[in-house]
Amino acid sequence: MEINAQIALTVFMGVLLVAVAAWLTRIEDWRSYSSTAGGVVSQGERSEYIEQEKPAGLIRWLTTVDHKDIGILYGIYGLTAFAVGGLMVVLMRVELATPSTTLVGPALYNSLMTSHGITMLFLFGTPIIAAFSNYLIPLIIGADDMAFPRINAIAFWLLPPSALMIWAGFFAGPLGLGFEAPQTAWTLYTPLSTGSAGGSLDPAGGAGIDLMLLGLHLSGVAATMGAINFIATIFTQRDENVTWANLDIFSWTILTQSGLILFAFPLLGSALLMLLADRNFGTSFFLADGGNLLWQHLFWFFGHPEVYILVLPMMGIVSYVLPRFAGRKLFGFKFVVYSTLAIGVLSFGVWAHHMFATGMDPRLRASFMAVSMAIAIPSAVKTFNWITTLWNGRIRLTTPMLFCIGFVSNFIIGGVTGVFLASIPVDLVLHDTYYVVGHFHYIVMGAIAFAGFAGIYYWFPLVTGRMYQATLGKAHFWLSFIGTNITFFAMILLGYGGMPRRYATYLPQFTSLNVIATVGAMILFVGQIIFVWNLVNSWYAGKRVESGDPWDLKRDGVHTVEWQWFDRKIETAITDGGEEEQNAVTDGGEPIDKSENN
């Protein structure tokens, strides 16, 4: 590096450190004097209790260790990443509307594909689950906060730098930093990712890959810190009334997921550091004979549990929300918990089904096929329990309920197509085709994202104190449901036709189905624009919820703990002279008001 740049960086770091130290000193003053300064507590305002415990304004959000605030931060972060990853794939699908390259060149396509995968799994999927669990778990289990509130904040704040490092390659080109966005796909298979030209000079992204490895490692550290926190919280911070026997289904799934994270993410972290060392420090973990297979084993030992890390809590949300709008309790609660635990255990015995085509020992392959098939059993137990919960229930098709039912529907298609892939002979035919892409998108978009939407709509009034616009919510659902099925079913058919995945171009005979998939993706895109508009607009200008039971849960005797907390909060606000606004309408709560259709 040039001397001038070194000096500039030194000055910059010096100024940064002095600024940080000065700011921390100011906080020292602020905490010394604020107790007598007054003005912190604004009497009569509904946020009084918050201001006693946190500073005001932007500083509150930068320094908060409150689980609810951190949950909101996770949510905003996750949805921002969802928008970025979504825009990436819109570009890719537009490119795939024609067989040849028109809009996006092969290199950019590969970069977009790599970042889309990593963004959706690590920067959207895991954080959006943390949003729900941070906000809700302490409320539901009667804890004051998380067991380690500061660790909780550190875990969140590691994520923004992690995202910047993962996306760094996209900024590096325009800034003239001399490296590109990685083109390795999210699986980072060696030898492509080890750098064919040695060190950081490889054509697949150069230092962009190193930064992505560091960013992924950071996000893994964050996830592990969060998992330890949730395990400690659920084990030690429960209210005395909350026993293992009556622990709710969402907490069970978060506990299981945290266990999976605890075993899976440190292994990913180690593998990433080994790859980083191969690329930069002269080691040869993955350069020797068998190194490529070793990477795949290590990666998928993490990679497959990661699927369950993402889907189990979402199944928890569906198990939690779906019965509320079926007018009954979850059917077979115990068996849903047992299935969650069974999936958690089995998820560590299926990883090599991603590697059937690598030429591994056939006897090993058979055992992985057997365990992969076996995991269908607890998954089916859950599915049948959801369906049985709906059976003869008093069903209210609110937006969260629609997304829950959409989850079950898409999960069945995604799950059944997965059972076929678990079979070695079928997998050898369909491996690396669009069938695989269609299958896992039915799960990650059709199921995981749908459950996320269900959760966001269901708890929107709890978090914001306002109601979303119901008609827009339903438009979001139908556009998402139709878009998902058009896009990903077309991909399954493309896979049957033999179209390979991960290419910016394709043979002309695949054009029709690709156009259909692109149309489906555009429908999805429109749906998500409506979602973002609805969320932002309703947060600022939605009608205030004045009932502590906006979903009319008391009628069925399922007014759960978090809504009781909300009820008390609203009662306090009204006593304090909360703002007078028009009553909120419930999305499906009874009676249904005409103004719901705003």
């Binding site: 770091m13 940064l16 906080i27 946190k54 409150d66 980083l276 420090f281």
Partner: protein
């Protein structure tokens, strides 16, 4: 604790340290991996200093000096490990080791300055 109320006493639900710990870690990682001396030193100082701060704030440590000393010891050990590792690879690790030592030296200077100049009542929380 009672004599010198900390941030967590006034604002129980706030702490200034996590965001800087989360900033220090990636900056030091980038500095060490890409061998960028100022980033490595600055990042390590930010990371280690803020860990000492958060330990004090959350009452895991009674004074600032214990955690800072521990951090210095870890940095020295890490720098020494890098120097040893340098003999086993063709990649130059010496400047990275010096960056780690530089952080340890600056932290030591801070420790000495704090011991000499910070009044006792504020120094021990």
């Amino acid at each position: 604790m009672d004599e010198n109320p900390g941030l967590s006493d006034q604002y129980r639900k706030a702490s200034p340290w996590p965001i800087f710990i989360a900033l220090g870690l990636p900056v030091s990682e980038i500095g060490l991996v890409f061998d960028i001396f100022p980033l490595a030193v600055g990042g390590l100082l930010l990371f280690c200093g803020c860990i000492a701060g958060i330990l004090l704030e959350s009452n895991y440590a009674k004074t600032l000096w214990g955690p800072v000393l521990t951090m210095i010891a870890i940095l020295v050990a890490f720098g020494a490990a890098l120097l040893v590792a340098d003999g086993y690879t063709e990649i130059g690790l010496v400047t990275r080791a010096y960056a780690v030592f530089a952080s340890a030296i600056i932290m030591s200077a801070g420790l000495v300055a704090g011991k000499l100049f910070v009044p006792k009542q504020q120094a021990s929380v």
